[in-house]
C-alpha cells in the first residue's frame, strides 16, 4: 500500500493518530466502516441534490418528455415570480414565529421556571411545568395542524368563533384561515409558536444548571435585581445554547412545510405560500419540473449559506471567549 510506505518519513501529529494502535490495514481499514453510510448518503441525499441542481437549468414537463436546455431561464424567472417572492417574504414572518418569539419567550419562561419556581416552589413542580411546555414538541405537526384547523373552523361552529360569540354576545363568524391574508398568516404563526416554545425552554433550563449558584448569591448581596442578574450573569452564560437554538430553529423555519400544508394550503389566493410548499406544489402540479427544481435548489442554497454563517459566527464567538 503506497500510503504505508510514506508514513515513516511523515511525522503523524498525535491529534491525528487513530485511537486504536494499528496492526495491518492501517487507517485504510477504517474507511470500510463508511461503506454503508457513504452509499446511502450518496443515493438518498446527493443523487437528488445533483439531479435537481442539474434539472434547474432545463425545462422539463416530467415523465417521458424531452428535457430542453434552458440556461439560467428558471433562475432569472424566480426573481420575477411574485408568488416566489411572496413565499420568501412569508419566511421572515415564519422566522419571527419559529425563532424570535420562541427564543425570547423561552428565555423568560426558562429563567422563571429555574430561578423562581424551581428554587422557591420545588423542583418537582418546575419539571412538571417544563414537561407541559414541551408537550407540543413531540406531537406530529400534522396532527397539531388538524387540531388547530378544527379550532379555527370558519362559520359559527368553529371553536374560536363560538368562544368569541360567547364573550361578545354577538354572532362571530370569522373565516380565520380562508378569509384574509392577515388572519391566515397570524393563525399559522400562532400554531408555529405553540409548537416551538418547548424546545428553547428545555434547552435553556438545562443550560442554567451550569451557572454556579454562588454567582447569583454574590450578585444578590451586591443588591442586583432580578433583571440585572439575568442580563449580567444568565444571558452570557447560556449564550452557546441561544446560538444552537437560533441555528436549528432558523433552519427549521426555512424548511417549514406541514403547518402551511395543513392549515391554509397556501391560501387565501396563494398569499401564505412558503418556499417549501411552493416547490412541492410545482413538482406535483406544475408544468415545468425544471422550474420546481430551481425553487427547491434556491432554498437548499439559502439553508446552506445560513448554516455556514451561523457556524462561522459561533466559532468566532468561541475564539473570543478563549
Amino acid at each position: 500500500m503506497p500510503s504505508l510506505t510514506r508514513t515513516p518519513r511523515k511525522q503523524v501529529h498525535p491529534h491525528d493518530a487513530p485511537r486504536i494502535p494499528q496492526r495491518g490495514g492501517g487507517r485504510l481499514g477504517y474507511w470500510l466502516y463508511f461503506i454503508p453510510g457513504a452509499i446511502l448518503v450518496g443515493v438518498v441525499i446527493f443523487y437528488p441534490i445533483i439531479r435537481n441542481l442539474r434539472l434547474s437549468f432545463f425545462h422539463w414537463r416530467g415523465g417521458r418528455a424531452e428535457e430542453e436546455f434552458a440556461g439560467f431561464d428558471n433562475w432569472v424567472a424566480l426573481f420575477q415570480d411574485s408568488e416566489y417572492l411572496q413565499s420568501f417574504q412569508n419566511i421572515f414572518l415564519v422566522i419571527v414565529a419559529m425563532v424570535i418569539v420562541p427564543t425570547l419567550l423561552g428565555l423568560v419562561v426558562a429563567a422563571a421556571l429555574f430561578d423562581v419556581v424551581g428554587r422557591r416552589f420545588g423542583g418537582k413542580l418546575s419539571s412538571f411545568l417544563r414537561a407541559t411546555y414541551y408537550l407540543p414538541q413531540i406531537l406530529p405537526i400534522a396532527v397539531a395542524g388538524v387540531m388547530f384547523s378544527w379550532i379555527l373552523k370558519p362559520n359559527s361552529d368553529g371553536v374560536l368563533n363560538q368562544f368569541l360569540s360567547f364573550l361578545t354576545g354577538n354572532e362571530v363568524a370569522v373565516n380565520w384561515l380562508g378569509g384574509q391574508y392577515s388572519t391566515a398568516i397570524t393563525s399559522t404563526m400562532v400554531l408555529m409558536i405553540w409548537i416551538q416554545i418547548g424546545y428553547p425552554v428545555v434547552i435553556f433550563m438545562a443550560a442554567l444548571q451550569r451557572v454556579e449558584p454562588e454567582l447569583y448569591e454574590a450578585s444578590e448581596l451586591d443588591g442586583a435585581n432580578w433583571f440585572q442578574r439575568f442580563r449580567a450573569i444568565t444571558l452570557p452564560m447560556i449564550r452557546p445554547e441561544v446560538f444552537v437554538v437560533a441555528l436549528t430553529t432558523t433552519i427549521a423555519a426555512l424548511k417549514v412545510f406541514a403547518p402551511v400544508f395543513i392549515l391554509t394550503m397556501g391560501g387565501p389566493s396563494k398569499s401564505t405560500y412558503v418556499p417549501s410548499f411552493y416547490a412541492y406544489q410545482e413538482f406535483i402540479r406544475g408544468t415545468d419540473k425544471g422550474y420546481a427544481a430551481a425553487i427547491a435548489s434556491s432554498i437548499t442554497i439559502v439553508v446552506f449559506i445560513v448554516s455556514v454563517i451561523f457556524i462561522k459566527a459561533q466559532h468566532r464567538a468561541e475564539r473570543k471567549d478563549a
Binding site: 441525499i45 416552589f121 419539571s127 411545568l129
Partner: protein, 299 residues
C-alpha cells in the same frame, strides 16, 4: 404549608438556618407567587387545545352540534372514536407508524455508530469534511429530495412500501447521530482501546464489545429521538405512501381532515387518538428525552 405546628415547637434558634448555608429559607414573596401564576397560566394555555379535544371527543354528533365546545359532554359517547377507529383502518396506520419509526430508530443508530467509529476513533483524513457531508442529510430541505427519490423508488417498486420511508429517514436521522457520536468518540478513553488491542481484539471486536456497551445510554437516547422524529414526519411519507393501507398516523388524520363530508366528532376523536401514542411514549421516556435534548445542544 403543613409545617406550621412543627416550627412553633422547635426552639427559636432553629427557625432560621445559619447564614452560611447555601439555601437560605425565606418566605415566598408576592412577586414570586405572581411569576408562578403567570407560568402556570402559560402552561395551561399550551395544553388548552388538547383539553378541548378531550372534552369534545366524547360527544355524540347531536350533542356536539347543540353545545358549546367548552361545555362538558351530556353523556359519554364513543361514536366518534368508533367511527374513526374502524372507518379509517387506524390499527393498520398505527402499525405502519410503529414499524417505520422502530426500524429507522434501530438502523439509523447502527449507521451512526459505524460512521462515528471511523471518524471519532479512526480519525480518518478529512473527518471535519466528512461530518459536513453527513450533516447535509439534515440540512437539505425535503422538497429537494422528494421528486428524484419518488422516481427512484418508483423504478425500484418501493412506492407505498414502508421501506421507501425507512431507507430515507435512516439516512436523514443518522446525520445527527453521526455528528453527536463522532464528537463523543473523539474523547473516548484511549487506554481502554489500547488494552483491548493488546489482548488481541480486532477493531470490530472493540467496537462491538467495548465501545457500544459504554455508549449504550447515549444510543438509547438517540433511538428514542429517531423514533419520535420519524413518527412525526410528514412531507416525504405524504409523497411516498399513497395506498390506503400504507399510510402512517399523521397521514391518515390529514386525509380525514381533507375530506369534506367528515363528521366533526370523528375528526376530533381521531385527532385525540392520534395524539395518545405520542403522549404515552412521552410519559415513558420523559427522563431520557430531557436528558437527550440537552446532549446534542452543546459540545
Amino acid at each position: 404549608m403543613t409545617t406550621a405546628p412543627a416550627t412553633r415547637l422547635s426552639p427559636p434558634g432553629n427557625k432560621h438556618r445559619p447564614a452560611g448555608t447555601k439555601h437560605k429559607k425565606r418566605g415566598r414573596t408576592p412577586s414570586e407567587w405572581i411569576v408562578l401564576v403567570l407560568i402556570a397560566l402559560g402552561a395551561l394555555l399550551v395544553v388548552f387545545p388538547m383539553l378541548l379535544l378531550l372534552i369534545n371527543a366524547f360527544k355524540s354528533p347531536a350533542d356536539y352540534a347543540n353545545s358549546n365546545p367548552l361545555e362538558l359532554p351530556q353523556a359519554l359517547s364513543f361514536d366518534g372514536i368508533k367511527a374513526f377507529w374502524s372507518g379509517n383502518n387506524f390499527p393498520r396506520a398505527l402499525w405502519n407508524s410503529v414499524f417505520i419509526s422502530g426500524m429507522v430508530a434501530i438502523l439509523a443508530v447502527v449507521l451512526s455508530v459505524l460512521n462515528a467509529f471511523a471518524i471519532g476513533i479512526g480519525r480518518v483524513k478529512g473527518r471535519t469534511w466528512l461530518i459536513l457531508v453527513f450533516l447535509m442529510a439534515n440540512l437539505v430541505p425535503q422538497e429537494m429530495l422528494f421528486d428524484p427519490l419518488f422516481k427512484l423508488y418508483d423504478d425500484l417498486g418501493l412506492l407505498s412500501n414502508p421501506w421507501s420511508v425507512i431507507i430515507t429517514f435512516t439516512v436523514i436521522q443518522s446525520a445527527f447521530g453521526t455528528y453527536l457520536l463522532s464528537s463523543l468518540l473523539g474523547t473516548f478513553p484511549k487506554e481502554i482501546l489500547e488494552a483491548a488491542a493488546v489482548d488481541g481484539a480486532s477493531r470490530f471486536r472493540s467496537l462491538r464489545s467495548i465501545i457500544v456497551p459504554i455508549l449504550k445510554p447515549t444510543l438509547s437516547v438517540l433511538m428514542v429521538f429517531f423514533f419520535i422524529w420519524t413518527w412525526n414526519e410528514f412531507l416525504l411519507p405524504l409523497a411516498f405512501l399513497n395506498t390506503d393501507d400504507s399510510l402512517t398516523v399523521p397521514l391518515v388524520l390529514e386525509q380525514l381532515n381533507g375530506e369534506r363530508q367528515t363528521d366533526t366528532t370523528t375528526l376530533v376523536a381521531g385527532t385525540l387518538i392520534s395524539i395518545i401514542p405520542t403522549i404515552i411514549f412521552f410519559l415513558i421516556f420523559q427522563r431520557t428525552l430531557t436528558r437527550g435534548i440537552t446532549a446534542g445542544a452543546v459540545k
